[in-house]
Symmetry: C2
Subunit: 193 residues, 2 copies
């Protein structure tokens, strides 16, 4: 086999009900204690973390070379829950190589995709099954579960994208979503919280 | 808005049962007459084309700039059917920029993903709902429906991939799938047919 064809085709099995992907996918679990400093209600955060430190989300990532021309993919399962009135969310990130897009397709549940860029623009997209959202190059993205069941989506992004979590950890995300009178309300956020 | 952020986020709605994507996706229909010379049984091909020229497959493509860093995506719906004993299939292609991967995720129905490369290697992957197949850089790919219902999958590929259909039109695909005793049988193919 020539070197340029060193990689053989393969397939993984996505459970379309649970979002789980079997081997060789890599499972990653983010508990509330992994998201320190990101939620607004610090008292609620401390209480919840002390009272069991719940799993906020799981990621099943299909691993290929993190190189130009390849495509990384994963499922993300955000569990239902709130920290105070703020819905459980993912850390949120820019791509380290910023001119790299991403596609999120909702399989189950309901949630939001939040987007922001370095020019201060922001957008929110409601995610329900079948919604396939385009995250253009240069846009940071965070997802959150506004429902009472797991919110599950499939993501695909270029192999050479990389992840920059630090920008969001430091500056916060420009939008936040809180429960108000039983419904999600999207709010502009002035800072880390 | 700065020029580097000229593109705003957006979303499309994929009907997870039918595979249809609403606007702004572009619909493309391939009838049997669009696949001249690709199936083995020429008599069956002529008869079927004359008797109504059935739709073999439909594609709903989400359009973004065909540039490095962007991601193209589509759903493909291959209808059930055969030309003689050969199952309805897609044209099949290499990427024009060959070092570009693609991911196919089956949503409904059943079929095969066939793969081949210029070194003469070939692979087949059975596609059922939830199977997410990785088409590595440099591998040509064709899909086919072996079931009695529409076979529906979602595909994502880099914006600067391009399509080379000519190589497959001229040389044929290295694998073919025929019905034998009611079941699909994968066969090595020596040429265009």
């Amino acid at each position: 086999m020539s070197s340029r064809n060193h990689m053989a085709p393969f397939a993984v099995n996505i459970d379309l009900n649970t979002g789980h992907i079997g081997p060789p996918a890599r499972a990653l679990t983010r508990r509330l204690s992994d998201l320190r400093g990101l939620f607004c209600d610090e008292a609620a955060y401390s209480a919840l973390t002390a009272a069991g430190d719940p799993v906020v989300y799981e990621v099943y990532e299909v691993r290929v070379p993190e190189e130009d021309g390849h495509l990384l993919s994963c499922t993300t399962i955000i569990h239902p829950g709130q920290v105070g009135r703020e819905y459980f969310f993912t850390k949120g990130h820019y791509h380290l190589s910023e001119p790299r897009a991403e596609i999120y397709t909702c399989l189950r549940g309901e949630g939001y995709l939040l987007l922001g860029n370095r020019e201060g623009e922001s957008r929110s997209i409601v995610m329900i099954p079948g919604v396939s959202a385009y995250i253009p190059p240069y846009w940071a993205h965070r997802t959150l579960n506004t429902g009472s069941h797991p919110f599950i989506f499939h993501g695909v992004w270029p192999g050479d994208s990389g992840h920059d979590y630090g920008s969001i950890e430091q500056a916060g995300f420009p939008l936040r979503v809180f429960e108000e009178r039983g419904r999600p309300a999207v709010k502009a956020s002035a800072g880390p919280c």
